[in-house]
Amino acid sequence: MPRGIVASAGYVPYRRLQRTAIRDVMAAGGGKGTRSVAGFDEDTTTMAVEACRQLELTNGPDALWFSTAEPAYLDKTNANAIHTALRLDESVTAFDFGGAIRSGIGALKSVLDGNGTTLVVASDMRTGLPGSADESNGGDAAAAMVVGDGDVVATYLGGASATKEFLERWRTPGSKRSKTWEDRFGEAMYAPLAEHAWNAALKAADVTDVDVLCVAGMHQRSVSRVAKRLGVAKTIDLGGTVGDTGTAHAMLLLAAALEEATPDETIALVSLADGADVLVFKSVRRAAPKRTVRQHIDAAQDVTYARFLSWRGMITPEPPNRPEPARVSAPAAERATEHKFAFDGMADTCGTIATFTVDRLAYSPSPPIVFAIVDFPDGTRAPLELTDVDPEALHVGDEVEMTFRKLSTADGIHNYFWKAKPVR
């Protein structure tokens, strides 16, 4: 039985930052195109849930592996919230692969080289100081893949890695920004590593020609150089719209490639992060998640640079003069797990707005709160906060879908729950 990608999907959040908006304010940085921006109520965990929700998880996985360089929690396993939001069985293990950007491609490669059926999900939020290249070139996204045997959309032909210790990009825990060494040093390090891994991977996969190339890596100069040197006619590049999404990027590019693939294409995925990893696939049929990466990219709304900075904690606007939320009670949350994390199995059901209001006084990490009474087809009703919404364009009777979000954070506890957003 062939082993490979059984299903794949990406999630790109709704908001975009026009890179020119950075230069307008900072008189530096910026560039062309847009980068994706996670909402104030999103983190790497909630985006991972949204990516997984794009998959048809008919045959439940044996394990859930979650990779991110921007974990919502340390010590506590973030994959558990994803596991519960997806209503996976208790017997399905959930593990975090945290810290390094390479943990995304690392989890995918390990699963492909292993056995069983595993849901691999990678998520990241990239940021940098105002005016920096990281701020402008970074992006926020998640990607999810079910890896297993049998009915695959792409067969894994083989892969290879090259690893070497060098100091090119680093960040200490808790820091808002990454630092990098002089650009040319990284280029000198990555070029030979990429070449070694590429040659070894083609040999392992027993192929000589590649039809589609995906190159991921935070070191832009090396990514460009490698993509050019390898001379593959078709490359997948999301830099102009989404930006570089770090831990998620290799899988996001692969998901995009698999959604555009025709049968029997050879697809190579190259990741440059503290070494080089190359994975080679043969497409069987086009991947068909509920919503494609392209659809996510096309359904977007700009966010102002000021709001982007406030969402990233780079500036602190005056909040409403109201008490901040109390921390969630752990036992109360545990008793309400099915409701709080899985919305009682109703998360994939659309509702309609019975009535709504805009609360300009209530506390919110990004006021005002838009709130609606939502009726569901089964005759139930729920009072829900709306998100990714323009209240001016909202009407009674509008259809909304559910999305997993972070309501607030108090005492270091993230309050996860579901919000509703307009169906787009």
Binding site: P320, N321, R322, P323, P325, A326, V328, S329, A332, A333, R335, A336, H339, K340, A354, T355, F356, T357, V358, D359, R360, L361, A362, Y363, I369, F371, I373, D375, G379, T380, R381, A382, P383, E385, V396, L407, S408, N415, Y416, F417
Partner: protein, 388 residues
């Protein structure tokens, strides 16, 4: 059920000025409300209504210095003061006590925040976090849509309610806001939630109010002008409105239930002509609008027209909130229900300041005091009269 009609009388009532009393604490407010009762009656028992300004009866005990009396602190959202009255009245009616005090207090302005704030009970974090203003703002589009009322008519009616209550409050030396406000000023006020402007919202104030109740047959021992309790009703809903798609935000079922009960107790069949006045819970302008229909004063879908006609103005055919209501008298949560009763006390006894004294020949008045939000509400109704 035989109800409470004519079993209990109010023989004293008091109310402090409501406002931002930066210089006075809960103790000071309670002390003043007790002192201003000006009665020789010696309570055997006390009920203290406060939402979150104190725990236990000791909150009052340390003020009045009693060491051997029962004092019960009660809480039922914004109807906590009315709840104190209800408990005191039933205690006297039972014969267990001869004299009981109901007192309500709230020291809201020590919180440091605008508006009212719920005391956080540890929870799972999934409950709505909206302000009361936002919850009540949901009534406006729902009402306008159901009855085909234009945005302009709706705004005019709501602004009329606020302007009327400001006008009444301007004639009330105890009121928090004593300035007349034109409907244009109200309509132009900054938006707080939905289409609700800041001048559609009740004042948030510190204050206290109190009353003494005795058995009806003892009333004239203490005063020659007692008020007799004709009905007391209280309903705490199930909160189902928040999750019940049949609830349409144009009426308050808990209010309707408590009103029906109260009218039955008092034998009221035509509420529009029965009362000299009514104090109702105008926490936000749409609340007062809907209450005119829930209380049976206006047919469904017509209250906005009657509001605009002036029917509920100070000298209309049924004055509503002649003291200025929550809107301009202010809303110290635990005191509000007893503040409403205090206005009935003044008006029915002909003791209101002359500039706002109404025709009291009908001899009956009502208070309607609610807590919570549309869909998730508690409602209290009392009816008091000058004769048995």
């Amino acid at each position: 059920m035989s109800g409470i009609k004519d079993k209990v009388a109010i023989i004293a009532a008091s109310c402090t000025p409501f406002g931002e009393h930066w210089d006075r604490g809960t103790d000071d407010l309670l002390e003043q409300a007790v002192a201003e009762l000006q009665t020789d009656a010696k309570p055997d028992a006390y009920w203290l209504g406060t939402a979150q300004s104190g725990m236990s009866g000791i909150t009052l005990g340390r003020v009045i210095g009693t060491d051997d009396k029962p004092i019960t602190r009660v809480e039922n959202y914004c109807a906590s003061g009315s709840e104190a009255l209800r408990n005191a009245a039933y205690a006297v009616a039972s014969g267990a006590y001869d004299v009981a005090m109901a007192i309500g207090v709230e020291k809201v302005k020590d919180s440091g925040y605008q508006g009212l704030n719920a005391f956080p009970i540890p929870n799972d974090g999934t409950q709505r976090t909206l302000t009361a203003a936002a919850m009540f703002s949901l009534v406006i589009p729902a009402y306008a849509h159901k009855y085909g009322v234009s945005d302009d008519d709706m705004r005019d009616a709501l602004a009329h309610i606020a302007s009327k209550n400001h006008s009444n409050g301007a004639k009330n030396p105890r009121a928090q806001f004593r300035r007349e406000m034109s409907t244009d000023q109200i309509k132009q006020s900054p938006k707080v939630a939905g289409s609700l402007g800041v001048l559609d919202c009740a004042g948030v104030a510190d204050g206290a109010a109190a009353a003494i109740v005795v058995r009806a047959e003892d009333a004239t021992k203490y005063t020659n002008k007692p008020l007799y309790i004709k009905a007391l009703s209280f309903v705490a809903g199930s909160g189902r409105g928040l999750v019940d798609p049949s609830y349409d935000y144009t009426h308050f079922p808990e209010v309707e239930a408590s009103v029906k009960d109260a009218y039955a107790q008092a034998g009221i069949t035509d509420p529009r002509t029965a009362f000299a006045m009514a104090e109702v819970h105008d926490c936000f302008t749409p609340t007062e609008l809907v209450l005119m229909e829930d209380l049976g004063f206006s047919a469904r879908g017509t209250a906005y027209k009657e509001v605009l006609s002036g029917a509920f103005d100070l000298h209309g055919d049924l004055p509503i909130n002649p003291d200025g209501g929550l809107k301009s008298f202010g809303h110290p949560v635990g005191a509000t229900g007893l503040r409403m009763l205090f206005e009935c006390w003044l008006q029915l006894r002909g003791e209101a300041p002359s500039e706002r004294q109404i025709d009291n020949s009908r001899g009956l008045a009502m208070t309607q005091n609610l807590g919570g939000y549309p869909g998730e509400m508690v409602s209290f109704v009392s009816i008091v009269g000058t004769s048995t």
